[in-house]
């Protein structure tokens, strides 16, 4: 006789009509599951008289989200159960309401967990210079949908085709700044979550998080004439964005999102020459300013600590 799987449905082993005690709040009624083998949405299935095979061998592996989902899922034979079903016969195995999973619990909990995120990003909206950003973020989830985090990024830049074309074709040198590094204090809110099936085979859960934060960014002028010195500026930089997070394991997620870093940048004066603002300090004092929306596409991988979690509510 197979043993019930621990925690996979709550059914008690044994034979006869020993039904589980009703859960608090239940009406105490029992459900006649009929002759359908495997009725109910749990992973258990009636297999013989007074026995229930809960599939002890199918205990989910630690950290395996798909195994958890499979354990929670039904076998596809969901049928309505009549509340006024006839009284059970001796020897019939009974299930209670609490054994029936109608809505599976969230497969990934973030409450009081720390997210360590390694990320890379690239500029989306600058046709002169493209920045590549590499960085990380440390976030703590106060609730399952609210988090506070600290991020830091290091930037590398690359001039795009128009940078050279404008110089060669229009005989104009673009005024360009490069970004060196940035940091921000961010707040995350997760209003959207869902799941999807990949090729009708594998279910992946995901969510959408909105982010708003405030931070600082170091910008550095790329002098049009290399004889003149560059100057750097530390700029206040609020940011807003949205991320999609895909849950792979209990301790690992991957993320893709867009973030808009907003700041007022200081650019090299257009009329800078040997006779006008030749030094970096003078140029900075007379810098042209402009509101910049640095929209970045970001990909990241997150490690979650602790690496696992426990549910504190009924399934």
């Amino acid at each position: 006789m197979a043993k019930p799987k621990a925690g996979a449905g709550g059914a008690k082993p044994g034979s006869g009509s020993a039904a589980p005690a009703p859960a608090p709040g239940d009406d105490g009624g029992e459900i006649e599951m009929g002759d359908d083998a495997g009725s109910g949405s749990g992973s258990g299935s009636a297999s013989g008289e007074g026995e229930i095979d809960m599939g002890a061998e199918d205990t989910p592996k630690e950290g395996d989200l798909n195994a958890d989902l499979a354990a929670d899922g039904g076998d596809g034979t969901d049928k309505p159960v009549k509340g006024d079903a006839p009284a059970p016969k001796l020897g019939d195995y009974q299930l209670s309401w609490r054994d029936i999973v109608t809505v599976i619990r969230k497969p990934f909990l973030k409450l009081k967990r720390t997210e360590l995120r390694a990320m890379a990003g690239t500029t989306m909206n600058d046709n002169i210079v493209r920045h590549y950003a590499f960085g990380g973020e440390l976030s703590y989830y106060l609730t399952d949908v609210l988090a506070i985090g600290l991020e830091g990024q290091y930037y590398q830049h690359q001039f795009r085709e128009p940078f050279d074309l404008v110089a060669r074709q229009a005989r104009r040198l673009p005024t360009v700044n490069q970004y060196n590094f940035s940091g921000a204090l961010n707040f995350h809110y997760v209003p959207v979550y869902g799941k999807f099936a990949v090729l009708d085979k594998k279910i992946v859960t995901w969510e959408v998080a909105f982010t708003a934060g405030i931070g600082a960014l170091q910008s550095e002028v790329v002098p049009r004439d290399k004889r003149f010195g560059a100057f750097k500026s530390i700029l206040i930089s609020p940011n807003v964005g949205a991320d999609m997070r895909f849950f792979l394991f209990k301790s690992l997620t991957i993320n893709a999102g867009i973030r808009d870093y907003i700041f007022v940048d200081k650019f090299e004066p257009v009329n800078r020459s040997e006779s006008m603002y030749p030094t970096a300090d003078e140029a900075k004092a007379h810098a042209d300013t402009s509101l910049i929306n640095n929209v970045m596409f970001q990909l990241s991988v997150s490690l979650w600590l602790p690496t696992t979690f426990e549910y504190h509510t009924f399934r």
Binding site: G55, N125, R168, Q169, A170, V192
Partner: protein
């Protein structure tokens, strides 16, 4: 006799089957096999990931009025409206066409360059284009579109603010793009009939090229055919209405500035190169027939 033989064979086969099907450790006194027993098959193995699922696209036509705009264009944003027509042969596979009529808006880069250019030629700066020369060499894209095949490998549900529960799917498309490019350079501006070529004058003497690409024709108009790649998401508000958000790349040969790219001081066909034209699109998909079927 035959009946007896058949009966005997049947019983024999049944016994053979019973013996072979009996596990070696069925006898309590027998030793279990050294090898671990095979994993008990899970009843969910091989089953569909989702049952009783709404087939939101299979066997349906999709008509999507849409809006599109370039992302990060160099010289001119292309903004327009059009439609997408698609037929879904299965839950994952579909074919379709998309077409968009557009207008052009100068990018911030152009708006910064043009005011700094001279209105008329400065003889001391022969390579510097005038405002008219610069702007008339830029091209626009009044019509573009694609014919494609589409794969929808992901579908699912999402909950927004714990209130709205909607179906969605992700799709990926590949196909052939086409575009009608347009540039209009006045004959008085683009006056060089033989850019980069040595010609002869009336007296038969050779005339070297003027090495001025600013008076060459831009050669960046006409029809183009290229590659089309796209990805997007449907968010179903109803069984027959979905929001369609997508990113589309129409890649084909182009020279958006209409100027000399390869620094040979003349505008020629060689200045065109295979470029991505990245668009973001937003539309509302109407699925026909309006009623969706369900899986078992």
């Amino acid at each position: 006799m035959n009946k007896h033989l058949i009966t005997t064979l049947s019983v024999g086969l049944a016994l053979q089957f019973a013996v072979s099907a009996t596990p070696a450790f069925a006898d309590d006194n027998a030793e279990p096999p050294a090898a671990a027993p095979a994993r008990k098959p899970n009843k969910l193995d091989g089953q569909p990931a989702v049952r009783n699922r709404l087939l939101l696209v299979k066997g349906r036509a999709e008509l999507t009025p849409l809006f599109e705009s370039t992302i990060n264009a160099d010289f001119r944003h292309i903004v327009g409206g059009g439609a997408k027509l698609e037929y879904h042969f299965s839950d994952m596979f579909s074919v379709g066409v998309v077409g968009v009529f557009s207008t052009s808006i100068d990018t911030g880069l152009v708006k910064k360059i043009v005011p700094t250019l001279p209105m008329d030629h400065d003889p001391t700066k022969p390579r510097e284009p005038t405002r008219t020369e610069f702007t008339q060499h830029l091209n626009s894209m009044p019509i573009h579109g694609a014919a494609y095949v589409s794969l929808t490998p992901w579908y699912g549900k999402l909950a927004a603010f714990s209130k709205a529960f909607v179906n969605f799917d992700f799709y990926f498309q590949a196909g052939v793009s086409f575009a009608q490019l347009k540039s209009s350079c006045d004959a008085s501006i683009c006056s060089d009939q033989h850019p980069g070529e040595t010609t002869t004058n009336a007296a038969g003497d050779p005339v070297p090229p003027d090495d001025n690409p600013n008076n060459d024709a831009p050669l960046n108009n006409g029809a183009r055919v290229g590659l089309y790649l796209a990805g997007g998401i449907h968010v179903f508000l109803k069984d027959f209405i979905a929001l369609d958000l997508g990113v589309r790349d129409y890649a084909f040969s182009d020279n958006p500035s209409g100027a000399d790219f390869n620094a040979d001081l003349a505008v020629k066909k060689e200045d065109s190169r295979f470029l991505s034209h990245l668009f973001v699109g937003f539309g509302v998909s109407i699925m026909l027939p309006a009623k969706a079927k369900r899986t078992r």
